[in-house]
């Protein structure tokens, strides 16, 4: 697979935007501007962007709690995203959802989820709907290794195969579910093997820090789904650099392990690839990085200047008219 220069620039920019968004999120939290918690995807950028780069704008994704990268990859407006993160009225969800629930329905992002595994059963139904509507659309359904241990995952695999839905299930295996090491109960290969056990063609695991490899694997699955070949399950092997959330004390893993994985930085890997393939010069890559960070800085300014929801509107929006 050969990338065009334009695509290489675009993916590089998105990767830096995700990294910058997460770093800003952390800073805003530390500065006391954000309450609640957040789940940062630093170190997992290639999985989000490589996977979603295979979609058409009219396709859909459904995400999970560690979903900032997925939103950006699906083309979210950074200002509206940051405003939601800040709980502002003009955020994507009017400040009602926050970090864990960002959705951009018009943009094909059917939302993050606070319940582990909560999006997977819905993915099957979205797939059923897409098939009935027959507009040649597909869905990517993202979840973590932890979600692969839920009943919701296993029931959904069975239904997805039964109904041959145009869905690619993507497990972002970042090695841990909070403190629970995936290797204590499974392996990437075993999670991917469920695809085969349940009857999905072409399920596999990838080096989830390699955008090119992720894109190739997901791209093949998306093509199959679009052509009526049914669902697949792909496991992107990756690693979260930060703690699970703001309450994590990292007692369950070693600094050495974290440092080892940092050497496999998906951004540097993709950047090196682009330079080697003469898609980008170092200087161009630097300029893209700068743009990524300044886009996020602009989003922060936008969010901080945005209005809070009015308390009188609290009970609005629970029911559809």
């Amino acid at each position: 697979m050969k990338l065009s220069k334009e695509n290489a620039e675009h993916y590089m920019l998105q990767m830096y935007q995700v990294r910058a968004f997460e770093e800003q999120a952390e800073k805003s939290y530390m500065a006391g501007k954000i309450h609640g918690t957040m789940h940062l995807s630093i170190g997992q950028e290639a999985s989000a962007i490589g996977s979603i780069s295979t979609l058409e704008p009219t396709d859909f994704i459904i995400g999970h709690h560690r979903g900032h990268g997925l939103c950006i990859a699906k083309g979210a407006d950074l200002n509206l995203m940051m405003a939601e993160f800040y709980g502002k009225e003009n955020g994507y969800c009017r400040g009602r959802g926050g970090s864990m629930h960002i959705a951009d329905v018009a943009g094909g992002n059917l939302g993050a989820n606070g319940v582990v595994g909560g999006g997977i059963p819905m993915a099957v139904g979205i797939g059923i709907g897409l098939k009935m509507k027959a507009e040649n659309q597909v869905l990517l359904a993202f979840f973590g290794d932890g979600a692969a241990s839920t009943g919701a995952f296993h029931e959904s695999m069975i239904l997805a195969v039964l109904f041959q839905v145009p869905v690619v299930f993507i497990c972002e295996n970042n090695q841990y579910a909070m403190s629970f090491s995936a290797n204590d109960w499974t392996t990437s290969k075993k999670i991917a093997a469920h695809g085969e056990i349940y009857g999905m063609a072409g399920s596999c695991s990838t080096d989830g820090n390699d955008l090119i490899e992720v894109k190739a694997a997901v791209g093949a699955a998306v093509k199959r789904a679009r052509e009526g070949g049914g669902p697949s399950l792909i496991v992107n092997d990756t690693y979260r650099w930060r703690g699970h959330s703001k309450s994590d004390r990292n007692r369950y893993r070693t600094t050495e392990e974290i440092e080892e994985w940092k050497k496999k930085d998906p951004i540097l890997k993709f950047r090196a690839y682009c330079v080697k393939e003469k898609l980008l010069t170092e200087k161009e890559a630097d300029q893209i990085k700068e743009k990524g960070y300044s886009d996020i800085e602009a989003a922060r300014v936008f969010a901080e200047a945005s209005p809070d929801p009015k308390v009188e509107t609290l009970e609005e929006g629970v029911y559809a008219p």
Partner: protein, 328 residues
């Protein structure tokens, strides 16, 4: 007496019970090395090992069912569901199985387990990590439902719950974890089904649950400055309910304000109002029974909206003043 936090009191109760009774064990997500999402079981893995601190992957239905099964053959498991919101996933085993096995089997066996779970809003964790579902479980015969509100109570109530021969849903409000209070080092039981008058007063009874007990006490301190003397009654156990103490208090004050965090419609306040209306206290009422409870919305993320969604001290002060000064 020594002061410890609500959270430490829970840990102490579990630790002492595990030392006393080898049938007691913990099962839940991230309760080992991580120490539990709220650090309740921190350090217990070192003490009791993996044999009795069973850390699980994300399997709410599975781990709850495992607790039910173990209890069925005489173990005394304590299952932790990381957030009450996820008891939705655990509820099949809890509601259909644990609650009914003894009755269905004609009394041949029982299910002595505790399901502990942190509940409530106030941490900015939004719609999926903030809910108060106590009344769902109150509705199920066979379950007991406990909502402790002080460090002293939580220790005694948890010990009683572990020793109880029935499935107990033990609900811990997150904002209480860091509150401090006097707690004896030795083990003691507080019987399930006994309310506690947290403050005596004569003008109005506030019946509050969970975190609202603390908020109501703060409101009472405000109002006493205006000469309004409030009694705060904490049922502590919602099922079984100490109807007698409630009736007695209402007969004394003649006015009732019910305060809870859970959404008003279908909430426990309706049950309390019903119990009072059906009782001999009815004739003593000098004003309508008033409920102050969660608004009819999911818990939103935005800080101001989140606060507005559940009763705050100011709201309690206002409602209590209105009711206490009402002349009918």
């Amino acid at each position: 007496m020594r002061e410890i936090t609500f959270l430490e009191a829970i840990r102490e109760a579990m630790t002492q019970e595990m030392e006393r009774d080898s049938r007691v064990f913990l099962i839940g997500e991230d309760i080992g090395e991580y120490g539990g999402a709220f650090q309740v079981s921190y350090g217990m893995l070192e003490k009791f090992g993996h044999e009795r601190i069973l850390d699980t992957p994300i399997t709410e239905l599975g781990l709850t069912g495992a607790a039910v099964g173990a209890a069925l053959i005489g173990m005394r498991p304590i299952a932790e569901i990381m957030f009450m919101d996820f008891t939705t996933l655990a509820s099949e085993q809890l509601v259909n199985q644990a609650a009914k096995l003894r009755f269905m089997f004609g009394g041949q066996s029982s299910v002595p387990m505790v399901l502990r779970t942190p509940a409530g809003s106030g941490t900015g964790a939004a719609e999926h990590h903030s809910q108060s579902f106590e009344n769902w479980f109150v509705h199920v015969p066979g379950l007991k439902v406990v909502m402790p509100t002080t460090p002293y109570d939580v220790k005694g109530l948890l010990i009683s719950s572990i020793r109880d021969n029935n499935p107990v849903v033990f609900i811990e409000h997150k904002l209480l974890y860091k509150t401090k209070g006097e707690v004896p080092e030795e083990m003691y039981e507080i019987p399930l089904g006994k309310a506690d008058i947290k403050r005596e007063g004569k003008d109005l009874t506030i019946i509050a649950t969970g975190i609202m007990v603390q908020k109501s006490l703060a409101a009472a301190e405000e109002l006493i400055k205006e000469g309004i003397d409030i009694e705060v009654l904490d049922p502590r156990t919602l099922r079984p309910l100490d109807t007698e103490s409630i009736v007695k208090s209402v007969k004394k004050t003649g006015k009732v304000l019910i305060v809870h965090e859970a959404v008003k419609t279908g909430g426990f306040g309706g049950e309390l109002a019903g119990v009072i209306a059906e009782s001999e206290a009815f004739g003593y009422l000098e004003a309508p029974i008033i409920r102050l409870a969660g608004r009819e919305v999911p818990i939103p993320y935005n800080r101001d909206l989140e606060k507005a969604a559940v009763p705050q001290i100011e709201d309690i002060v206002e409602k209590a003043r209105e009711l206490a000064t009402l002349k009918v």
